[in-house]
Symmetry: C2
Subunit: 355 residues, 2 copies
């Protein structure tokens, strides 16, 4: 298969971890006789530094001309604590999602047996957890109209949703549930918010087309409790943009390491794959960033194009690295100084010579 892949390494540890994912994809291409072409472009704070824009037009054009996007991370502390900054790295990611119509963010959350003791949660609470979160990604309050009064004393953000926005991601979530445990939990705040009541109405209607899938509902504040109290109760979680941001980050701690969690952002025409960890600027260039989330997002990319065997081989390489303690310091209890690129090398070797 020929694939054109846009690589957007971004800020902080983004370039280091993305380099390992590319390394692994190149090994896959070689072993399976695929042709993967990689084209690089800046995004985020590095793009602001270069061009003044967090998402330069050339980057967006490249993304539109490729089959898939491998994304690193964006964000730089110099913008976070400056409320007066007009241009922000995060705008690059938000705009990219919007421009490419990436309306569904998909995040698998799994408790790896080998890492149960890493979790802040008790073993019996998390063992067997296998959740897939579908977060709406291009609507809601993050994209709604923002206002600041002239005197600077009143500010507002609008959370708006349309039936069409809700329907399309609802279909994806229910289809996914059909090949899983056949349960969708809608997380909303329908007892207070009008937009949540629209979600509940539309999702209930769409669910009629999936009679084999059970639908239930949870208010977002209760969901924030239930994810800690009993994560095993969930199969597919479906929710709007901001609730999904909060709930999926909360759920990310279950597995014991955010450095393992990959994600996909898909729309009707484009798809982007990225680790869920942020730019982690404190770790930049230290060789300590865990590349596994980025490598697993490369596996999700292969899945997206039906290359299941290839994706599986990457996942086997990852599991082998975890078992043999060939991991970065965040996970490693045995060896010192196994660097970001050493982990990538190990998985590359595994693909070249699977044992």
């Amino acid at each position: 298969m020929k694939l054109k892949i846009a690589v957007l390494p971004g800020d902080g540890v983004g370039p280091e971890v993305t380099a390992q994912a590319v390394k692994v994809l190149k090994a896959i291409a070689q072993e399976f006789d695929h042709t993967f072409q990689f084209k690089y472009a800046p995004v985020g704070a590095v793009a602001i530094d270069e061009t003044g824009e967090p998402l330069p037009k050339t980057t967006l054009d490249l993304c539109k001309a490729t089959d898939a996007i491998l994304f690193g991370a964006i964000g730089d502390p110099k913008y976070d604590n400056d409320p007066s900054a007009k241009v922000r790295p995060e705008q690059g990611l938000l705009k990219l999602r919007k421009e490419l119509g990436l309306y569904a963010n998909i995040r698998p959350v799994k408790a790896y047996d080998t890492l149960l003791d890493k979790s802040p949660l008790k073993r019996h609470i998390i063992k067997g957890t296998d959740i897939c979160i579908y977060r709406e990604l291009t609507g809601g309050i993050y994209f709604g109209e923002k206002k600041l009064s002239d005197d600077g004393n009143t500010a507002s953000d609008l959370c708006e949703y349309t039936r069409a926005e809700i329907e399309r991601i609802t279909h994806l979530a229910f289809k996914s549930a059909q090949s899983r445990k056949r349960k969708v939990t809608l997380v909303d705040k329908a007892n207070v918010l009008e937009s949540s009541r629209l979600w509940r109405r539309v999702v209930t209607e769409v669910s009629q087309e999936y009679k084999d899938v059970k639908l239930d509902f949870l208010f977002v504040d209760n969901a924030a409790m239930q994810i800690i109290l009993n994560p095993k109760q969930f199969d597919v979680i479906l929710t709007e943009n901001m609730f999904g941001d909060i709930i999926s980050d909360e759920a990310s701690v279950i597995g014991g390491s955010i450095g393992l969690l990959a994600s996909a952002s898909v729309g009707d025409y484009f798809a982007m794959f990225e680790p869920i960890h942020g730019s982690y600027p404190q770790a930049k260039d230290l060789g300590i960033a865990n590349p596994i989330a980025s490598i697993l997002s490369a596996a999700m990319l292969l899945d997206h194009f039906g290359l299941f065997e290839e994706a599986e081989l990457i996942r086997e390489g990852v599991e082998r690295s975890l078992k043999l303690n060939i991991t970065t310091p965040d996970l490693n209890t045995k060896f010192n100084h196994i660097s970001t690129s050493k982990v990538g090398d190990f998985i590359e070797d595994f693909i070249n010579n699977p044992k």
Copy 2:
């Protein structure tokens, strides 16, 4: 001291647990020679059933004519899954907070040593946790303008904040931090939301008046992780209404039982005290609801009026009941069938005859 106390038992288990708090307050009045006058009024689903309104005018008038309000819980499942319902029990609570100007919701979260093993989190993660959450309660998206298009296909909610709304709760949070560990963490989403950027600006300005308190910032999605990963890092958490709803419910699981957590909702003129657990309709009239949160909210009421010794005696009674396993089934590993009112009786006895 003479206190007029409005008692609003509400729905579900509200009446049962509130009855225990009243029992305990009566014991305090007797022991310390105070005069507490209790007046009852309906709120929530029971008020809708009686009058058609979740907050009847007579209830609101009573609250305004009293010194403090002891509140039970509201909510009934018959309204939750009916998106077409025009009147909802929760509106009663929202309206009460708004009408009485109860702009700050205060929630202490503590890990009791005797209950560490009850928590879904590991012992070493939570031991020593002592957080106080200040949640803005009368602004933001829960109260913003709600719209539903005529065709029913577009819905929106507005999140709006003013400088004045932010300033007043910020002062309360910083004053509280001064008698604690001198740290305030503002939870927001300032990298995306205009309203969050206003929060960050105003809180930063107000913090200049409290040089002895350290201020730091956390994005809400990161906060949802940090509360599980390392709850001990927090002292006072300050946040807007919806973030506070989610974060404080999430934090409520730390201590291992939501049945122990009390809260205060205060404004410049009125104050209301309530357990944080909801109406828990499945448990109604079974005698299994834990009354301790309601009893501890009575203690917060006494603190509010400077009756520190009295409040402390209640807390001692509670700790004694926990130690001796005189608790409802949710906590009890030793005795069966200790009912809601038995727990109240024990703490009442303790107050009459402290040992």
